[in-house]
């Protein structure tokens, strides 16, 4: 199944970009200190708010820090919050969605109501409120808050998936053989959902990065550490716009957009696999088809 996914070019490109950012998050700080010999807070007094140049590839901020170094180190801040929140959200989604779909009955009713409740709550506003209360929290607290309102969509998908898997022949057969429910869930149901869960995870990851950026932008995100959101926030706070320092706030936003695009590509790829009519290969075929239809008609007319 995973192989099938990897054969789709959109999935491959998307995952590639995603992996590149992951690498950046892991190795970025090391790269900045070992190769660029600087830190995101190092001040170059000769270059305050300078546009991109050979010395500072992405220019400098108004206080004289290197934007490239900030963006690279910021990847860690953003991606870590994204991934942590995604892990938490996926786990909660699985804990709520799978039992709800597998066991059914009153438990299902309760859990579904619970999920729907969270689904209709305006999650961003709620995240904002809570983050507002615990201002200046550590990054993992932010991740936790984001995760707390990110899981309902996933739980719903997992529930319906589990329900359809439960009805399939092999699970029914296993149940007849007297397998325990827990074993059944872990051995039979979960493995069939790797595709969906990984797509869900990616989406949650980007949603986390987005939410973190938004919170940081409002000045209520993590304190101390650098993330793409804090860079944009600082730029906004120090009138980068007024002074025309576009190189300060454009790169981090582009990084977020690129990460978002990568996930979207993976999702579209998966859509194409499950609904062949949408596929790009099919698109090429359609072109050929139109050509064939055009040439066939005059020939037929004779």
């Amino acid at each position: 199944m995973l192989n099938g996914f990897l054969r789709n070019s959109k999935v491959r490109i998307g995952l590639g970009v995603f992996a590149a950012f992951l690498l950046l998050a892991l190795l970025g700080p090391w790269f900045v200190s070992a190769v660029m010999h600087t830190t995101p807070r190092t001040i170059d007094y000769d270059a305050l708010g300078q546009p991109p140049s050979a010395k500072h590839l992405l220019g400098t901020t108004l206080p004289g820090s290197d934007v490239l170094a900030q963006v690279i180190v910021g990847a860690r801040g953003s991606v870590f919050v994204g991934i942590t929140s995604a892990v938490l959200a996926t786990v909660i989604a699985a804990l709520v969605g799978v039992p709800s779909g597998f066991l059914g009955g009153r438990l299902d009713h309760g859990l579904t109501a619970f999920t729907n409740l969270f689904l209709t709550l305006p999650s961003f506003a709620l995240t904002l409120i809570i983050a507002g209360y615990v201002q200046g929290a550590a990054w993992w607290v932010i991740a936790l808050i984001i995760a707390a309102f990110e899981w309902p969509g996933g739980a719903r998908t997992l529930r319906s998936q589990t329900m359809s898997l439960r009805g399939r022949d092999f699970t029914v057969a296993m149940r007849m053989l007297g397998e325990s429910k827990t074993r059944l869930v872990f051995a039979e149901v979960m493995p069939h959902m790797t595709g969906i869960v990984s797509a869900m995870f990616l989406r949650a990851c980007v949603a986390g990065v987005f939410a973190e950026a938004a919170l940081s932008f409002l000045g209520i995100g993590t304190t101390g550490s650098v993330s793409w959101g804090t860079i944009i926030s600082e730029a906004q706070g120090q009138s980068a716009i007024l002074n025309g320092l576009w190189w300060w706030f454009v790169p981090p936003g582009l990084c977020i957009a690129l990460l978002g695009t990568a996930t979207a590509l993976v999702n579209f790829g998966i859509d194409e696999i499950s609904n062949p009519r949408l596929s790009a290969a099919n698109r090429k075929l359609m072109k050929r088809f139109r050509r064939a239809a055009r040439t066939a008609e005059p020939e037929v007319a004779r």
Binding site: A113, L117, L119, T120, L121, P122, S123, F124, A125, L126, L128, I129, I130, G132, Y133, V134, Q135, V206, F210, A213, A214, F217, L218, G219, I220, I232, A235, Q236, I241, L242, G244, W246, F249, V250, P252, G253, I256, A257, L258, L259, G260, T261, T263, A264, L265, F268, D271, N275, R277, L278, N282, R283, K284, M286, K287
Partner: protein, 319 residues
């Protein structure tokens, strides 16, 4: 049900904060205003965080009673302005911005998506599909910043902040005032639409691709009806149903984007209020805005649901 949950959240969150939030808060107020808080202020802060006099259920009843009578308390940062006054000023602007941009983005996205899905693989489709993917992934607040920088500061086409021209009399029946609303609102609105339509476009396109191969569309073609009628009355008319459901689900997220955009453009709506309140730790304002947002989302849900029932006869019998 959801609303009740939101109410309860609102009630519980400040009461379960670690430490002594009331004391912290009073210190912050002092820092902010430079004066010691008045006894009245101290009392209202203590009350907000639960105080020590009543037990939790009694506090809860008290809280609900206040809400029923629309008593939202007093703002802490702009003490003693009632929260309801601050919000009454901000709400219309947000509703205006959210309403117009959501409707326009939905219509534009759905229409383009219908066209793309009608002929998948066309040149239009091939160009638009990847562009849309990218646009959809852009954070709204960041694009707002870029738009503000490019169009307001660099090119000077639009005003840089506010929702109306402060030099024009603030009268709803004044044409110049209305025109200034249009001028000031244009850039935030365009930014929101520019990001917003992509999601609608994509779902519409994909549903349309499937709908076009439905038998009733084939039969409509066999009937010899003109192409546009087949496209609208048969294919698009059915394909847009998921986009109506989607509207209900998306409205919460859309509001989030609008709040941030308001902050960037200093647009005097709820988002801007909420931002100020968060920075100033003005919790009563924050909570009331949250309640209001929940209410708005629920009302939007209700509207989307009733539109759906109007559009899809199959749901009517079940009701």
């Amino acid at each position: 049900m959801t609303f009740w949950a939101a109410l309860t959240f609102n009630f519980l969150i400040p009461r379960f904060m670690p430490g002594d939030p009331a004391a912290t808060m009073l210190r912050r107020i002092q820092q902010l205003t430079g004066q010691a808080p008045t006894p009245d202020q101290i009392r209202s802060v203590r009350l907000f965080f639960g105080g020590a006099r009543e037990n939790l259920p009694a506090q809860y009843l008290h809280y609900l009673n206040d809400l029923v009578h629309f008593r939202f308390g007093l703002s802490l940062s702009e003490y003693p302005t009632p929260v309801s006054d601050l919000i009454a000023q901000a709400l219309p602007w947000t509703l205006l911005l959210v309403g117009t941009t959501t409707i326009i983005a939905w219509i534009v996205g759905t229409a383009l998506g219908a066209y793309m899905g009608w002929k998948p693989g066309s040149r239009f489709d091939a160009i638009f599909a990847p562009t849309t993917t990218f646009l959809h992934a852009i954070p709204t607040f960041w694009l707002s910043l870029v738009a503000l920088w490019a169009f307001a500061f660099q090119l000077g086409w639009f005003p840089v902040s506010g929702a109306y021209d402060p030099d024009v009399p603030y009268q709803i029946n004044n044409l110049w005032f209305l025109l200034s609303i249009l001028k000031y609102g244009a850039l935030p609105a365009l930014t929101l639409i520019f990001i917003g339509f992509n999601g609608w476009l994509f779902t519409m396109r994909n549903v349309m691709v499937t709908t076009v191969s439905e038998d009733y569309v084939l039969l409509a073609k066999a009937k010899g009806l003109p192409t546009w009628r087949v496209l609208f009355k048969y294919a698009a008319r059915n394909a847009l149903l998921p986009n109506v459901t989607g509207l209900a689900l998306a409205i919460g997220g859309i509001l989030g984007g609008v709040l941030l955009t308001e902050v960037v453009f200093t647009y005097p709506g709820l988002g801007h209020r909420l931002y100020r309140a968060t920075v100033d730790h003005d919790f009563p304002v924050m909570q009331t805005i949250f309640l209001l947002i929940t209410l708005t989302v629920l009302i939007a849900n209700l509207i989307a649901d009733s539109i759906y029932v109007l559009l899809d006869p199959r749901t009517r019998d079940e009701a």
